[in-house]
């Protein structure tokens, strides 16, 4: 059985989609299977090869319209994956940093001299940002499942991407705030411990990576397939 028209359709569809590579591959495999099944059914009904392929592709729907629906699903899936990562990685990252701090520095009061009360306020707020951001991601994941059939898929994808970006932004703001505050109070604290400098650098790499994932979520949710 020839597959010229089917190949063209699947290639055109694939070129319009953006998302997790595995998800795109699964959708395209399913599409090719469905079109092949449809061609076989039409051949069994007595149509010739070319007509069977053309009929199968027509029945599947205009590629632009189908790509739009597929893309919305891919965007939601990418959003859910990113929110899951945020819900898991942020608390783990914070816990690891705190454990390193306790091991290499010990309690804050033993590190350097006394600090103003506003500094402690910022430090406590920063301690909470990872938990808050992970909580936001978790609540969004649960709501996304509940609203899966009630809310327009494209809207759901845009909400997921916006919430992912918001979560990362909360963590970035917390970290920038504590760095700026420390610089203001005692810049020496920022370079006093090499292991903690490395741990902080690692934290920033994770945050930037999560930020890029969240930005790709938005790109998947807003691309015109």
């Amino acid at each position: 059985m020839g597959t010229g028209l089917i190949d063209d359709y699947v290639t055109d569809l694939g070129a319009r989609l953006q998302g997790s590579r595995r998800q795109v591959r699964d959708l395209l495999t399913e599409t090719r299977d469905s079109l092949t099944d449809a061609v076989e059914a039409h051949l069994d009904r007595g149509l010739d090869e070319d007509t069977a392929q053309r009929r199968a592709v027509e029945e599947f729907g205009p590629v632009r319209h189908i790509a739009r629906e597929y893309q919305a699903e891919l965007a939601v899936a990418y959003g859910a994956r990113t929110l899951t990562l945020l819900a898991v990685v942020l608390p783990v990252m914070h816990a690891l940093w705190e454990m390193s701090r306790m091991y290499f520095i010990g309690p804050w009061q033993d590190f350097g001299g006394p600090v103003p009360s506003w500094y402690m306020l910022i430090a406590k707020a920063n301690d909470m940002t990872s938990g808050v951001a992970a909580g936001i991601a978790l609540v969004a994941l649960i709501l996304g499942r509940v609203l899966a059939r009630r809310l327009d898929t494209q809207l759901l994808a845009r909400l997921a991407a916006s919430i992912a970006l918001l979560s990362v932004l909360v963590v970035v703001l917390g970290n920038v705030a504590i760095l700026s505050a420390t610089w203001q109070v005692d810049p020496q604290r920022l370079v006093q411990s090499l292991p903690m400098g490395i741990a902080s650098f690692g934290t920033w790499i994770v945050i930037v990576r999560l930020g890029l994932l969240a930005r790709r979520c938005l790109s998947c949710a807003t691309i015109v397939a």
């Binding site: 699964d26 959708l27 495999t29 399913e30 599409t31 299977d33 469905s34 092949t36 099944d37 449809a38 059914a41 029945e59 599947f60 729907g61 205009p62 319209h65 189908i66 629906e69 597929y70 919305a72 699903e73 939601v76 899936a77 859910a80 996304g144 499942r145 899966a148 059939r149 898929t153």
Partner: protein, 112 residues
């Protein structure tokens, strides 16, 4: 039947098609067309995103398995999906009873 009229009911139709059986995508499309006597005029490609939506909602699960010598993704209802189908059927019966009371030909609207 036009796609726009079906869109709002596609989820329920898919749940009903999967009731008590496990099917792959094209088998679901064939079952939908057979069940409607060929009246469902829907781009078949729209079925796959709808199946993913139902999977996201926890109403169906899918597995890759070999059917007829080819690797295919097959779908089946979960217990949440079965409950959703029962709710859809109940809501549909209620809806048709109400509409039929007005449009069915025996009511006062038909006599007016």
């Amino acid at each position: 039947m036009k796609p726009d009229a079906l869109r709002g009911h596609l989820d329920a139709l898919l749940l009903a098609t999967l009731d008590g059986r496990q099917l792959h995508g094209y088998a679901i499309i064939e079952a939908l067309q057979q069940g409607s006597g060929g009246a469902l005029d829907l781009p078949t490609g729209t079925v796959y995103p709808a199946l993913r939506r139902l999977e996201r909602a926890g109403h169906v699960v899918s597995d890759w398995s070999t059917v007829g010598g080819r690797k295919r993704r097959t779908y089946r209802l979960t217990s949440a999906g079965q409950r959703a189908l029962n709710a859809e059927r109940s809501a549909w019966r209620q809806f048709t009873t109400v509409i039929d009371g007005v449009l069915g030909g025996d009511g006062k609207w038909a006599q007016a």
